[in-house]
Symmetry: C2
Subunit: 787 residues, 2 copies
């Protein structure tokens, strides 16, 4: 069933559109600078908004003095939380809990929290005036570390935690008080004590991941305006326009059909542009002022708006001497910052994968969403999984080496195979765990001798694999419209933020309908135009929206074939769709345009196919956390690296990088490879040097000058990507998501390689030269240098 | 089956949305000046276009000198027909024939024909520069009158007439040369000679209608721009966005999915904004300049762009002494101006109705589309029918009076009843001919004595009725979208140009789905958003699009009920749709939002209903012109007037106006009444004073100062409207179109009343004081004044 695509040559389908490395439909628009981004949008009469932000991590607001700011010439108005209440009486929002105020009301909970907004037609005037708003604070004790905050019995970020979000299951949670733990997930599978009793050795380690920033190059930006009928039109660089519509409508108490949300291309998202970011605020400002209002964040502000969870993972694993993992007990604390955002979902979804891609007799997993006084944390490419893989794959390496077993062999012994139940009870189906591991071994030439170097530069190699479940249950709806000449439009709410979804969706529709993918027009998300989609996140689009598009295209095809059958007298089964039309067994051929013209007596009409995809899902049991269908599919990815460690400086350089991912079926092998590479490179930054550095809640490196992301010189000399295709029974053409797969194993692969090179174990990312050098220095008595 | 709605109190349907006089959804937006019109649209970087027009009616172009215009500071460019050829090699367009060049190439065929375009960022600079373009003409003999032009054997407006338009049946016509008759329609039903032989008396008269202007208050305006992917986005005040897309795509050789056409509200249309007006030109200009280009016509330019056909109708009718019409022979010449536009369709569609709403043994009808050197004529509220009714209902009055039969009684004797074949052979079904006539008689109190006045002011009364077929075959497609909270969007390409279609469509969808009409959002035409619709014309939308919307809503309803049935276990038949949700027999109630949330585990998804409507139609036989299904429905309207004629000035004043129309079922009785009134008032202008006055092809009164339309002081003191409801079996809720019905009978009703008042017969509209006075003076020996 599996197939490894190495050359990038497509496996192909009947119509040859799926499996072809079609060039991005938008390439030309992007390289010529004509591609549409919300950031470039201007609307006549527009006001610019600038946000006044808290300088304190945790404080009660005694008063806000806006007088001086209002008096600055050119300032249109200064808006505070009290003003928001006039248009939105209950201004708390959030996908999981409604805990985040549009502007701070009683207190501030993190540095950078929006407290007031200055409006002006000149953005520079607005900016200047933000300095003139005086806020009087009564400081409170801040909490920054997730474990410390979870234990706090005196200081609380929120007085009461009221879960009331989008997701039905979260709504059923009970309110909590006197805790900073907003949500917990627990999995209990098997007799843990008995399993640990069988173990010859038990290993316990604690690993930590730091807080990092998404840093999309197009900033988070929203422009809202009232329409002629008094409805709201929100242009926003969002990964989740349907969610924005639903949540803004809820805040306003309006029906959805009075809120229209549209996006364009996104200059990156990575999870930063999900759910509500600026939309509720900007919508409220447009309503208050009755003018179009635009708010675009500076790079600095983005660091205070959304981040990736720092996490502490304590993992205890029992193994037999022959290398079988028999028991695992894992506790994870997620540093959610001041507002939950999607953190509770991360807590649950990542929580249950802590057993990794391994077949373990008994598992106990605990996962805690913790409020702190840091900027909110949400989803970032991998949805918490890389933080867990960092722990379990670092530990796998430790255990293998302690047992004297080759790390690859150790993984082979324990790998979770198709047909076996995952820790949650969900039986694995069509998952390329074995295939990815073996391809990784092959590409890494693991069985060949490896030169560890000598002198101050030492070499090592490491590998790691991880699995990730897809977010569920979620829905995607798509339309495929054949216009009167037979040309095609695909209507889907998937946001193309650089991942190439437009091209992939065009290929899927084209393949079904016998068109060239390049001839298909993909209409960008607009809640008044494209149907519902949960969001573009979690590598769900190819599977969910891909299925919806496939179903919609099949629906359109069925209608066209039926029309042609009626016109020709042939049975529908005898007709074949190809080359933009229908071929009959007698050799005659009718373009879709011909068929419609025959139907309607002129070039007229259209055929609309509708596809709606909602995979089966079973909610985990409240007590055991188990479910026999916890995800529609699993992603599995592996990373292998060869590193050089400079023992004099601690600098780690990845000289060879191998990324292997199972995508079920590569709709577009070129894009799949670039997605795997991109995720891997992004994770490389988080592994080696990216880190938000805080001082009393203030980010001291909140700029691209101080917070470095990988540049071209940081990339490995050798970069190899392998696509593994284990067709998924429910995927469109067998495909499933791949956007995050490349990020899963990279961090532990690097740490394992560093250990292989210099024998030091790093337990916390990033592996900065300082941290590695410190560890090297702690190695008593070891001398590096000319051997 | 019929019902007369007098009070405006709705008959109602089960859900009470259809039949309710819902206030226009857009009322507030309109009265507050916020309603969107394309005329108000501005786009950054936009160029303004101004057209250089021919000053000669018929000439060969020897040369165009644009040098001086190009040198005017601020002028961006000057474009001629030669430049258009670079982006559109075959630049001829038109709905019936492709005969109209985007800019004149070899010759000009009417005064006002576009010859060149000046582009500038400042519209005033562009305007000034138009005077600097020098055109060198070789003048040709012009032809202005339709009968003269039809007979010409030496001068031809077009060297060759090549029918190649949208409509399949017109494409099959043979090319013609050495004629100005572009298309003919002939109907032969029965043995005409034998029938005339049975007649006791034969009457033959010739009637003429003048050329008039549509005069929408929002000018014809188009703005075109290239999108980021190099596609075209055309914003246009158009009644036919789907047609514009198809025709512009054809001209460019592009697939339809690269051309997007959108409209907003229209400030009136009346047929002036149909097919291609400025769109092909502005699209070409945007492609040439790679900049957004806007062109908006001045009121003067509109007179040269599109008009209503002047027509000459010669009608010969054989009657028996007891008042039965036994034979009719009618010949009509349509003055189509220099380009066909939809004229050939008018020729055919109006042609076959010349028998009127009467049951006649043998009929011969001939109808000729004639090119002249006047501005092109197209469709104007009634599609040629008022010009024919003018003839046959004036003649009916003449005949009745000659035979000494009351004009009402004469019509009663001959009226075409349901079940009887129309002249074309199509059997009448669900047509309120009798009901309209009787309601007209009742409202006119026809059987009561009437005071004809004395002294210089004489009083008279008249009535007339007419029928009109709907344009066919045509297609409408609609979507009804229920969003995740159950709120509703209706997607239809019907253009709300003031006729209230948004409100009517909302009512239809709301009625089916158990919603309040006011809660439904109607999405405006945008070919990338709303599905195909042939056009908003010919009173077709309520029937065609109304059916499509009804079908789409029923499709959405069926899906919602099915989901609810699945969730509750009740049979779908046991569930009732009401109040925005589904009620179960056990008393439980689920909003649409509930049903979707239960389906998708959160507020998510949507339900899309699709409706496509294409009525059965049978093409007329090529020889006899007959068809047993020539139209999906017939409109029937009657007008009655009481006039005062000032015998000293010739001035005719309508003091009482009764308009009766059969709408099948009033979806919105308030709007239906206003549509009937509006059409009647508009026709009143054409009847009494509106007239385009030409001097060598130049319109000498091309301004609203010189060309008067009815003002408030022109309206009758008493205005009464009656809605007749004869439910149509195929109409949505029994409804059919009404937008033109009020215009059908007005002109002959007035002329008949004038005759009744002063005994003079007017054969040509308008009935200006001059014309009436001249006729009065020709009455030998009659003395008006104190009797």
């Amino acid at each position: 069933m599996s197939k490894v695509l190495e050359s990038g040559v497509p496996a192909g389908t009947e119509q040859g559109q799926v499996g072809r490395a079609v060039k991005r439909l938008e390439s030309q628009a992007k390289v010529t600078g004509r591609a549409e981004y919300i950031h470039n949008l201007e609307v006549p009469g527009m006001l610019h908004a600038k946000v006044v932000r808290s300088t304190i991590a945790h404080a009660r607001i005694r008063g806000i003095d806006t007088q001086e700011a209002k008096e600055l010439p050119g300032v249109y108005d200064v808006i505070t939380g009290e003003d928001i209440l006039k248009v939105i009486p209950d201004p708390y929002y959030g996908p999981a809990f409604h805990d985040q105020p549009i502007l701070a009301l009683d207190k501030v909970r993190h540095v950078g929290e929006p407290v007031a907004v200055v409006l002006a037609t000149d953005v520079h005037v607005a900016d200047r005036a933000t300095d003139l708003v005086e806020i009087d604070y009564e400081e409170l004790e801040p909490l920054f570390h997730e474990v410390e905050s979870a234990k706090s019995e005196t200081t609380f970020v929120h007085d009461v935690i009221r879960p009331a979000g989008t997701f039905a299951d979260l709504k059923t949670l009970q309110p909590r008080a006197k805790t900073n733990v907003s949500m917990e997930y627990h999995l209990r599978n098997g007799d843990l004590d008995a399993a640990f009793a069988k173990a010859d050795r038990v290993f316990e380690h604690t690993f930590r991941s730091q807080q990092v920033s998404h840093l999309p190059l197009e900033p988070i930006v929203t422009l809202a305006q009232l329409t002629d009928t008094g409805n709201l039109l929100i242009h926003t660089a969002s990964q989740s326009p349907s969610f924005v519509r639903i949540e803004v409508a809820r805040l306003l108490g309006w029906p959805e059909n009075k809120v229209r949300v549209r996006t364009a291309y996104l200059g990156g998202g990575f999870g930063a542009k999900l759910y509500i970011k600026l939309e509720a605020l900007v919508a409220a400002l447009a309503l208050i002022t009755q003018r179009p209002v635009r708010l675009s964040l500076t790079m600095e502000e983005q660091f205070y708006t959304i981040t990736r969870h720092a996490a502490t993972v304590t993992i205890r694993t029992g193994v037999t001497n022959d290398g079988r993992i028999v028991a695992r007990d894992c506790k994870t604390w997620w540093n959610g910052g001041a507002y939950a955002d999607i953190g509770p979902r991360v807590t649950q979804k990542s929580g249950f994968t802590a057993a990794g891609p391994y077949d373990i007799e008994a598992v106990s997993l605990d996962s805690y969403a913790v409020y702190t006084n840091l900027p909110p944390a949400g989803a970032l490419r991998g949805f918490g999984i890389p933080q867990l893989v960092w722990a379990y794959e670092s530990q796998a390496d430790i255990i293998a080496r302690e047992l004297g077993i080759d790390p690859l062999e150790f993984r082979r012994k324990n790998i979770l195979r198709n047909g076996r139940p995952h820790a949650t009870g969900t039986v694995m189906e069509d998952v390329g765990t074995v295939e990815v591991l073996e391809e990784l071994a092959r590409k890494m030439r693991w069985d060949e001798p490896f030169d560890h170097g000598s002198g101050p530069i030492r070499r090592g190699r490491g590998l790691a694999i991880g699995i990730k479940a897809a977010v569920s249950p979620t829905t995607s709806v798509a339309f495929v419209n054949l216009y009167s000449d037979g040309s095609c439009g695909v209507y889907c709410g998937t946001v193309d933020m650089g991942q190439g979804s437009d091209t992939a969706m065009a290929q899927i529709a084209a393949d079904v309908l016998g068109l060239e993918a390049e001839s298909v027009r993909v209409i960008h998300p607009d809640t008044e135009v494209t149907p519902y989609d949960m969001a573009t996140l979690g590598s769900r689009s190819t599977f969910h929206m891909g299925n919806a598009v496939r179903l919609a295209a099949e629906d359109a095809k069925r209608q066209m074939v039926a029309l042609c059958a009626e016109q020709t007298g042939f049975a529908p089964e005898a007709l074949a769709v190809q080359d933009g039309g229908v071929a009959a067994p007698d050799g005659s051929f009718f373009t879709y345009g011909d068929i419609l013209a025959r139907r309607f007596g002129m070039q007229a009409g259209n055929v609309l196919g509708v596809g709606s995809y909602f995979p089966y899902y079973k909610k985990p049991d409240a007590t055991t956390g188990m479910s026999d269908h916890i995800t529609p599919y699993w992603m599995v990815g592996g990373s292998g690296v060869e590193v050089e460690v400079d023992t004099e400086t601690g600098k780690v350089r990845i000289v060879r990088l191998v990324t292997v991912g199972d995508c079920g079926k590569a709709i577009n092998p070129g894009i799949v490879k670039r997605q795997l590479s991109g995720a891997s490179f992004m994770q490389m930054g988080f592994t080696l040097f990216e880190e938000m550095v805080f001082d009393e809640g203030q980010v001291v490196n909140a700029s691209m000058a101080d917070y470095k992301i990988p540049g071209f010189w940081d990339l490995p000399e050798q970069n190899e990507v392998s696509i593994v295709e284990v067709p998924h029974r429910n995927g469109p053409f067998g495909a499933k998501g791949i956007g995050e797969t490349g990020s899963l194993g990279l961090s532990p692969a690097v740490a394992n390689a560093v250990y292989d090179a210099v024998g030091v174990r790093i337990y916390e990312t990033p592996l900065t030269p300082e941290r590695v050098l410190r560890a090297l220095r702690e190695q008593q008595g070891r001398v590096w240098g000319d051997a």
